[in-house]
Amino acid sequence: MQAVVVEELRKNYGRIKAVKGISFSVAKGEIFGIIGQNGVGKTTVLRILATIIKKDGGNAKIFGYGIGKDDEKIREIISYLPEEAGAYKNMRGIEYLKFISNFFEGCDIEKAIEIANLGERIYDKIESYSKGMVRRLLVARVLMAKPKLAILDEPTSGLDVINANEIRRIIKNYAAHGTTFLISSHNMLEVEYLCDRIALMNNGIIVEEGKPEELKERYDAENIEEVFLKVIK
């Protein structure tokens, strides 16, 4: 069974057509990246798959559950990290992890503390955290729930090189143990390193899709950034 199957997905915001009928699938344990410039519809696609906004057309299934039909079931097996997400400022880091653990079975808080890598600061109030610290806490929150599908919108946004690298390593490790990742990013180099397959989005449609190595070969490019520039020309 495919982890994610998207067919002709469409979403409009009034007269603006944000997503114009895209299709893709993600295999179980795969890291699939959606890349593209800001405003091309990446976040909209992730929000639809995370069940927080409704689709206007097409179909999408997550582990066989239909988006718009089985949303409550889907929320039990996914974990979503929004772009620029925050955490409850008056809670301490540890309290936030414990709060989220109330909603998922089998949460590993000790593992989450390890992923967050905040040391003693995990016992401090979140309002005292830097942007990078909050992001690490949120990534830990996502993975702590042991989701079948983790949907990450710009997972390393706000992180420094060392922390970003650590998060990528953790994602790869979780994927190797069976977690499926759907990632959106405009950091092409990150996606090239991290993803098994990628979809290039532009103006609400997928303009190219494949493994990073295949795409580089197809477009005779040194990296995915170059592929992207050649595709959208």
Binding site: Y13, G14, R47, A50, T51, I52, I53, K54, D56, E72, R75, E76, I78, S79, Y80, L81, P82, E84, A85, G86, A87, Y88, K89, N90, M91, E95, F99, I100, N102, F103, F104, L138, R141
Partner: protein, 390 residues
């Protein structure tokens, strides 16, 4: 368990120094004002310091002076000097009006000064009455008959009930109820409602809402968690206000009991139910309104309509009884769910149960409709995109 976690989260986020300190501050202001008023009343009851200079040693002057001394202290820091001239007794014996000279010694122009002045005037009034009694009794007439020749045996009929007391006492008793209860309920609605709306604004501003919406829980649980959390925080804040307000109101010495008008256990239960559904109606309405908040600042502006809805019945019910209102005004007051717990104590004291029960039913229906709308909104795109999409 999941709802408990959501309620804990709401309380944790909302019960901050920023929400509690203003309530404590207001409580202290009310308590301080009550203390000042109580102090002034106490001062008015105390014997004032007065210097009494008597130039007449005859019987009436001596008697008058002795009464004044009984109700005034002669010491330092006098508020007045009372001088009794040498012809005081002789003028009264001749059947003419006597005269005393009062020189007031004001140290300032504050309201506190007036308490001592009132106490001196009271002492002079007592001395005058005692002097009248003495003059009358010397003529072998019972002074009490002169002062009060007619005894009142009065009854008041209100809402088909006969009460052996003066109407002013009944009005004063009900006024004391209708002054304090609407204020407390208004504060509770405005505070808790503001908290719910702010909570929605904060969720959007802090970008925590998207995470909340992807948790594996029913959207109605999120709505319920927010309402219960705000109720708890609102109740704590209202309790703090109430402590200060109660001290403030008690400083006026308002009547708290009146024979024939008592609330029993059933009445208190109805008041509690009325308050619960009114609060639920208010908070669920606020959750609907709060869905439109873009951030904390816009949430503050959105709180305004709810505050107005709570203030309108408060002011009207403070000065007018529901039964004496015009029909259109009755319809307006009844349609605002916050009116019902404000009216309930007065209505129950008069055994008007039906209106209280109708109010509870109306508030419950209002709450259910608002909760359904709020849950529906949580299922649409409105919270994230600002647009409705089912």
């Amino acid at each position: 368990m999941k709802i408990a976690a959501l309620v804990f989260k709401e309380v944790r986020e909302l019960l901050t120094p920023a929400t509690i300190l203003p309530a404590i501050f207001m409580m202290l202001i009310f308590a301080g004002m009550g203390g000042m008023i109580g102090g002034m009343e106490k001062k008015a009851m105390e014997k004032p310091n007065v210097e009494i200079i008597t130039h007449d040693n005859e019987s009436y002057a001596s008697f008058y002076t002795s009464i004044l001394k009984k109700y005034c202290n002669e010491g330092k820091e006098n508020i007045a000097v009372i001088e009794i001239p040498s012809n005081f007794s002789s003028l009264i014996k001749e059947g003419k009006k006597a005269e005393i000279h009062i020189k007031w010694l004001l140290k300032g122009t504050g309201i506190a000064e007036s308490a001592s002045i009132t106490a001196v005037r009271k002492a002079i009034e007592i001395a005058n009455n005692e002097l009248v009694a003495k003059i009358v009794e010397e003529k072998k007439i019972n002074a009490s008959i002169i002062f009060s020749p007619v005894e009142y045996d009065e009854y008041t009929i209100i809402k088909n009930r006969e009460v052996a007391t003066a109407p002013e006492k009944i009005i004063s008793f009900f006024s004391s109820q209708s002054m304090s209860i609407p204020i407390v309920i208004m504060i509770m609605i405005v505070t808790s409602g503001g908290i719910v709306i702010s909570s929605m604004g904060m969720e959007k501003e802090n970008k925590t809402l998207e995470t909340l919406l992807t948790l594996p829980i029913k959207r109605s649980y999120i709505v319920t968690g927010k309402i219960i959390g705000a109720t708890i925080v609102g109740a704590i804040i209202a309790f703090l206000y109430m402590l200060g307000l109660r001290y403030y109101i008690s400083s006026f010495g308002m009547q708290e009991k009146l024979a024939g008008f008592n609330l029993n256990g059933m009445d208190y239960a109805l008041i509690s139910i009325s308050l619960f559904f009114s609060l639920l109606a208010g908070l669920s309405l606020c959750l609907v309104i709060g869905s439109f908040a873009k951030n904390y600042k816009s949430a503050q502006i959105l709180s305004l309509p709810v505050s107005i809805l709570a203030i309108i019945p408060m002011f009207i019910l403070m000065f007018q009884d529901f039964s004496s209102m015009s029909t259109p005004l009755k319809a307006i007051i009844f349609s605002i769910p916050f009116s019902h717990p404000m009216m309930a104590p007065s209505l129950l004291l008069l055994d008007e149960y039906s209106l209280v029960v109708y109010g509870i039913v109306y508030s419950a229906i209002f709450s259910i409709i608002c909760i359904l709308i709020a849950t529906w909104i949580f299922k649409t795109d409105l919270l994230i995109t600002g647009r409705i999409r089912k």
